[in-house]
Structure formats: C-alpha cells, structure tokens
Subunit: 354 residues, 2 copies
C-alpha cells in the first residue's frame, strides 16, 4: 500500500469541527481507498458506469463499517429533486375515513420509496397557504390535496408550482388531475341490488339539496337504476332528511306511514340507516323481512354492528389515496397519466339488511 491514501482529503482540507462529525462519502472513500465519486456511483448503482466488483465490495464494506448514511438534503440540492411528496389535507382525523386516504397514499408512496410530508389544515386558507409554502421550500416533487368528503375546492395559491393531484375533491371548471369516488355508480349499485332482491317500491332518504356530489349523484344513480329496470321514479318515495340518525329516524317514520309503504329504504349514509332501523323497529317491522335497508359509506363501527348488520356501499378511501399518489408518481416518472378526473367505484358491501 502506498501512502497516497492519506492524501485523499476533501477539497477543503481545512480543519473540521472535532467531535462527532457525521460520516460522509469522503470518509467512506478514504476507507475503501477510492474516490468520493466512486462511492457515489456504487451507492446509486449507477448504470452509466461499470464498477469492478472488488471495488464495489470494498465500498460497501466501508459503508457498513462506518455506518454511513446518505444525506438526502445534499443529494436533493444537487440533483434538484427529492423523493418527497407533500400531502395537504383538511382533516386527518375528523372521520375514520381520512386516515384511510393517508394510508393508501402512504402505501403507494412507500412502494416507490417516497416519503410523505403531511400537513393538516382544517380548511383554513391561511394555514393552507403557509403549508404549501413550506412544502415548496422543501422542494417536494408534487402535492396531493385531499379532503375528507367529496367536494369542490379552491386551491391555495402557489400549489401549482409543482404537479398537483386532487383526492376526494375537484376544482369546478378546471380539468386538474383528480381521483374521486363515483357517487353515481354507488347510488345506482345500491338501488340495483335492492331491485334484484325484488323490491319495486324503494324509498330514498337523501340529504338536503346541496351541490355536493354525494347528494346529487347518488340520487342520479338511484334514478338511473330505476329507469334501467323500467321502474317509475316516484318523488313521494324520496325524502330529504338531515344526514344523521335523527334524520333517518324521522324520515323512515314518514315514509313508512305512507299509504303504500316502501319495502326497501336506500339511506344516504349509515347513520341515516341506523336511524331508520330504530323507526322500523318502532313500527313493529323487521329488517330485512319487512323492510330492506341499504346504507352508504360503510362506517364499519356502525354498519358491522347493527342488528342485523347493515349492507351498504363503501367509499374507496384507501384506493383514492393510493391511486392519487401512484398516478402522481407515474406522471413524474415521465408517464403521461395526465389530467382528468378519475372516478373510483364504490363497492357494495353485503351484510344482512337487504
């Protein structure tokens, strides 16, 4: 061995602060008796360069011995990108669902070795603005903007300085890439199941008229299914309620009091269904014998534990999060997964109420 090894010092041969200096590629290089760039090539499994197996092994050994860890900030600074994606959401924990979206996003990111920088904003515009600014400062590759229920949104300024993916929301009159749930298909599916079971008079306990897709599109789906089956749409069977148990209770009571009572109730969500159960029980009727009940949302804690367990339509939260990130990563890696709103199906969850 020649003594040249000792000359392999960083360009700045200057005195470094003593004490525990973090291990750098230079340290690894010195130990492996190669140049710092060789270490870089080895660690990045660079294909543009052929490294002798022996050299490679020496480098990897040195990495292990020294406990070297790459500095992602340095790498990012130089290369201009970062393997980090920003995740802006209006609610991490308002419902169990919010977590599912992050989970899906997390899994998809992990598959491609990406990390998520998560910010919760509670829809506060100023917080959103600052959150986006911070994410941008950290040079995230892209940002996912996600909401806890399907709705139109206005994006915070600056967010479009990087690729953006909307999850569970959309910007009206803009054709931004988004992943949402297919409420219409969900509404249709729920109704079709009831029709298949032989029901002809299907009540629909719906939410107050709002511009929310969950309201308008589920109703459309209901009408679609009715139409497809050659069944008439009867306004009397559609009852607007507050979207909770009290609403479901009152609404079901009203519908059940009619001259020709419906044999099935399609409920706007599981809480409404829970209320409907109460009303049905109170009338001395049974589920599903006298009245079939279909929920929406698949709130596990409610749906699976009602008696009988509630058949319902699930929202694809996990899938939306997963798909949002994976579309984004495809797009970043050159693919043209492009823009456009992608609607993910709402699957039917069979239990015992229809």
């Amino acid at each position: 061995m020649s003594g040249t090894t000792d000359d392999r010092l960083p360009p700045d041969g200057a005195v470094r602060p003593r004490g525990e200096r973090p291990v750098t590629m230079w340290d690894v290089a010195r130990r492996a008796n190669v140049s710092q760039s060789t270490v870089s090539f080895v660690l990045n499994e660079s294909t543009s360069v052929r490294i002798a197996p022996a050299t490679r092994e020496r480098v990897l050994a040195a990495v292990r011995e020294l406990g070297y860890r790459r500095n992602a900030m340095a790498a990012g600074l130089r290369s201009g990108t970062s393997a980090v994606i920003g995740f802006v959401t209006d609610a991490i924990a308002t419902t169990p669902f919010a977590g599912q979206v992050i989970l899906g996003a997390q899994d998809a990111a992990w598959d491609k070795r990406h990390l998520l920088l998560v910010v919760n904003t509670e829809s506060a515009p100023e917080v959103e603005r600052q959150a986006v600014a911070m994410l941008l400062e950290h040079r995230v590759r892209a940002i996912v903007y996600s909401t806890w229920y399907h709705r139109p949104v206005t994006l915070p300024a600056g967010i479009d300085e990087v690729p953006v993916m909307l999850v569970n929301c959309f910007v009206p009159d803009a054709d931004l890439p988004a992943v949402v749930s297919d409420e219409r298909q969900g509404g249709r599916c729920a109704t079709e199941v009831l029709i298949e079971r032989g029901h002809r008079r299907i009540g629909f306990l719906t939410d107050a008229e709002t511009a929310a897709p969950a309201t308008t599109e589920r109703l459309e789906g209901y009408r679609d299914a009715l139409g497809d089956a050659g069944l008439p749409f009867e306004p009397d069977l559609v009852h607007v309620v507050t979207p909770d148990q009290e609403g479901g209770y009152a609404g079901a009571l009203a519908l059940l009091a009619g001259a020709e009572r419906p044999t099935a109730l399609f409920c706007y969500n599981d809480r409404v269904a829970m209320g409907a159960y109460a009303a049905i029980g109170e009338r001395g009727l049974s589920v599903p014998g006298d009245v079939a009940v279909m929920g929406f949302d698949d709130q596990e804690v409610i749906a699976a534990h009602l008696r009988p367990p509630l058949s319902t339509i699930a929202l694809p939260h996990y899938e939306m999060g997963h798909r949002g990130i994976s579309r984004l990563l495809d797009l970043l890696d050159g693919g043209a997964a492009g823009s456009g709103v992608e609607r993910l199906p709402c699957p039917y969850i069979e239990r015992a109420s229809v």
Copy 2:
C-alpha cells in the same frame, strides 16, 4: 445607479441552463442591489446583524416580485438541521384514534413551524428499519415512534441516532422519553364515578390477562378506587371477556345472573359496553335505572349513539401526539424536558349511562 449591479453574479459566472431556473437568493440580491448574504440576513431576521430598514425593504420587495422561495434543502445542508420530524407509526388508520395522535402531533409541530414526515409500518420490522433509515437520510431532527394501542415495543435499530419520543408505547426496562395514557387513573376514575353515584357492587368486565397496561392497570385502578372507598374487592364481580360486543354481552349476562347482581358495570371498552347494553336489555333491565354502565375509550361513534348515550373514559390520543412533539421540540431547543415516561390523564366523559 452605477453599473456595478450587473457584475453581481454568482461565483460561478458560468452559463446556466436556460429555461425556467428557480429563483435563488442571488437573483433576489441582484434585483435588490445587495449581496446574497444580505438577503440571507434579511430573510432570517438575523439578530447578529443590523440591516438598514431601506435595504431590508428593497430585499423584501425583490423577494415578492420574484416570487422567491427559500430552498430548505440547501439551508438544511449548510446549517445541519431541518425543521422536520419523523413520525413512525404502526397504524395510521386501524382505529379512528390513530388519526387523533397524528393530528395532535401535527398541530404541535405546526405551532413551531415544523413539518412531519409520516411513515406507516404496520409493525413490520423490516419496514420499520427502512423507514428509520430513510428518515435519517433526510436528517430529521427527531423521531416520534407511535403505536395505536398502549403497549411495550422494541425500537428499530438506528432510531436512536436522533432524539426519540415514544407515544402510546414504551420500551420495558429502558427509561426513554415517552408519553402514554394513565390507564390506572382511568380505571380508578371510572370506578370512583360509579361509587359516587352510590353503587356498592360494581362489576368489571375486563380483557383477558395480558401484559398490556390497559388490562393490568385499569384493574389496578378499579381496586384502588374500591380500596379508597372502603369497599371490598370481590373476585366474583370481575369477569374476563373477549374485548368486543360478544364478550360484553356474554360477560354481562353472566354477572347479571349472579345471586346478588351488580348495580353497575365497568366495561373494559365501549364495545364491551355495547354488548352489555344488549344483555341488560334482554334481562328486561334498564340503563342506568337498574344497571349503570361505564365504558372506556370513548369511541364516539359507539358511545355517543347508544341509547342511552354511554358515559365513558376517553384516551388522550390527541394530547399524547401533541405532547410528544412538543416535549421533543422543547428538548431540541435546549430545554431538558428530558427522559421519563409521562402519563396523561384519561378524562371522564359524562353522558347518560351512569
């Protein structure tokens, strides 16, 4: 104005790639007619340097006009730290609670202008190892390790290369900083409330004997309260059940069948309480008239919607997440918030079942 402005080029006067080059401090400096370092001083509100108000204004104006954004990677590289904290959890969405912990952490981080790099591991050791490695590569200032239910854990290798805070978990026989729920106080509190209501025979539907704090400590709390009130601990009143509705149903039925039936039931969790409700109803008894019921966990979807609404003990999930991060940040900022397990109280949530 002299023509010197045009000479203010980055040290590397070399040709830069054309096209949309991101705005740097140099661009701002040139525009404001100051040096790059002055821009840095202004933006960091450096106290070691006095900047003339006029200069300051010019710099800020240039920043606005150019839409400049700090590059956190460059800053981090140079300064050696990062305003980012790693958050490793075994479950983002297994229960609604997991989200509460992240939310608390997020809020605390946000208050101090920190970002959270979140990784979900599902407790898979290999994933945990890699997650920690990635976080360390990103030079997070610290890592929070969090679990969805209170339990002992083994930390992934390497995690202690930065300050660590355990949330909702602990490492046996190690005095690491941790924030957990005070199960014993919770158990005692639940029992005390029942005692205050005049109950003397209080049944306890508990989980199978495990080393979990939730099991052992809630029972201790129950005994504590009994002891404090001079009430005897009667083993017959303690019934081990599976911690779900079925268990609660069976357990309550058994306890209610005894010669001297208890007038109150303290349930291991809300699901058990839900099952107990069913059993009580089936025996023709009422809550709380004939039998008072106390839950644990405060699963909102269950507790608030049972009839009557369930009085229960809440776990301080949000608080644990919040406290975990804030202790960590105090510690990083020089404070000696130090090590030690911190137990956060489980508050009593009064509804209508006791």
